[in-house]
Symmetry: C2
Subunit: 196 residues, 2 copies
């Protein structure tokens, strides 16, 4: 049992170390030697858990996507009006990308390994489409006049947020999520008045 | 005179070939050999016009910025209401990035050569601030309630547009500019009703 626990801890340590390394150097640039050193784990222990860099990257993507999908799931259950929920989803994901290196690394991997089926857009696109479709079916004031534009806005804000973080244009510490929240407030103020 | 004209043509051919190469391979990855081949120019002729890769990249950045600033200048003179002008500027720059390899390459170089003073944000940021400030001074219905959010929105849309183009998420042919235009229409519809 103690051995099993240690195994789980080692595995998690490796996934975190891999996320840090990939966030910094990208998939191509990441080396297993640096990941072992950061996780204080031997190469033998690494290959016991992950036979290849690809397998380790798969684990980072899986964990990052799971974290993001937990957030998306919570928002799908919230009783907020449609666009407010879409805004919460965008701001929440921008915040996760900013705060959580595993999520940020998973998003980077999804871009750098386009041959993998795991596309980052699948984390949020079905949820946004679901919210818009529910509103359309329900009709009334919560229906969104330009659903395609809303989907595009979410996509541009999230790719823009990732690019800003990577370029170091913003200093982190919630700055990107705050900017995305400010943009949505500006948009929602106008839209709310429109449907009033 | 004919010699001079040929020199100008060679110079322009080199700048275009460099822009194509940098757009594809980045500043680090770009090679002078491939640029010579693409421009059908000898290495001697290249070094006659540009003593180094840095000098050639400077020329790409200068020409790309000049093209973008011509567009920005036209918009600053237009009689459109503030947010419509900001939208035209964003859509116009997204279109230029999409259509013009020199502009796209200049934006990429500004990001990949951060030690250079020429930051891409300087192409549009002063103009957007100018438009917002003019509206603030004039007061009335054209004043913008969230100027900081508008600046952030332009930045996210443009970095997002560039990222989408690089990732090949969109197939070009005006697709990115159209998406940015759709997003602004959605935003402006709401804002127009708000101030009505």
């Amino acid at each position: 049992m103690a051995v099993q626990e240690r195994g789980v801890r080692t595995r998690r340590g490796l996934v975190l170390a891999a996320a840090l390394e990939i966030d910094r150097a990208g998939y191509e640039g990441a080396t297993l030697t640096r990941i072992c050193a950061a996780a204080s784990v031997s190469m033998g222990a690494l290959t016991f858990h992950f036979p290849s860099k690809a397998a380790l990257a798969d684990a980072v993507q899986e964990e990052g996507r799971a974290l993001a999908q937990r957030l998306v799931g919570r928002i799908l259950e919230s009783p907020e009006p449609t666009l407010r929920a879409v805004a919460d989803l965008t701001v929440g994901l921008a915040g996760l990308l900013e705060e959580d290196v595993v999520v940020r690394s998973a998003a980077r991997l999804a871009r750098e390994r386009p041959q993998q089926p795991d596309r980052w857009v699948q984390v949020w696109l079905p949820a946004v489409c679901d919210l818009l479709e529910r509103a359309r079916r329900a009709g009334g004031g919560d229906m969104v006049a330009h659903p395609g534009a809303v989907v595009a806005l979410v996509g541009y804000l999230l790719t823009g947020a990732e690019a800003q973080m990577r370029a170091g244009c913003v200093s982190g510490g919630g700055r990107v999520a705050q900017q995305v929240a400010d943009i949505w407030r500006f948009v929602l103020d106008g839209v709310a008045a429109h449907s009033a």
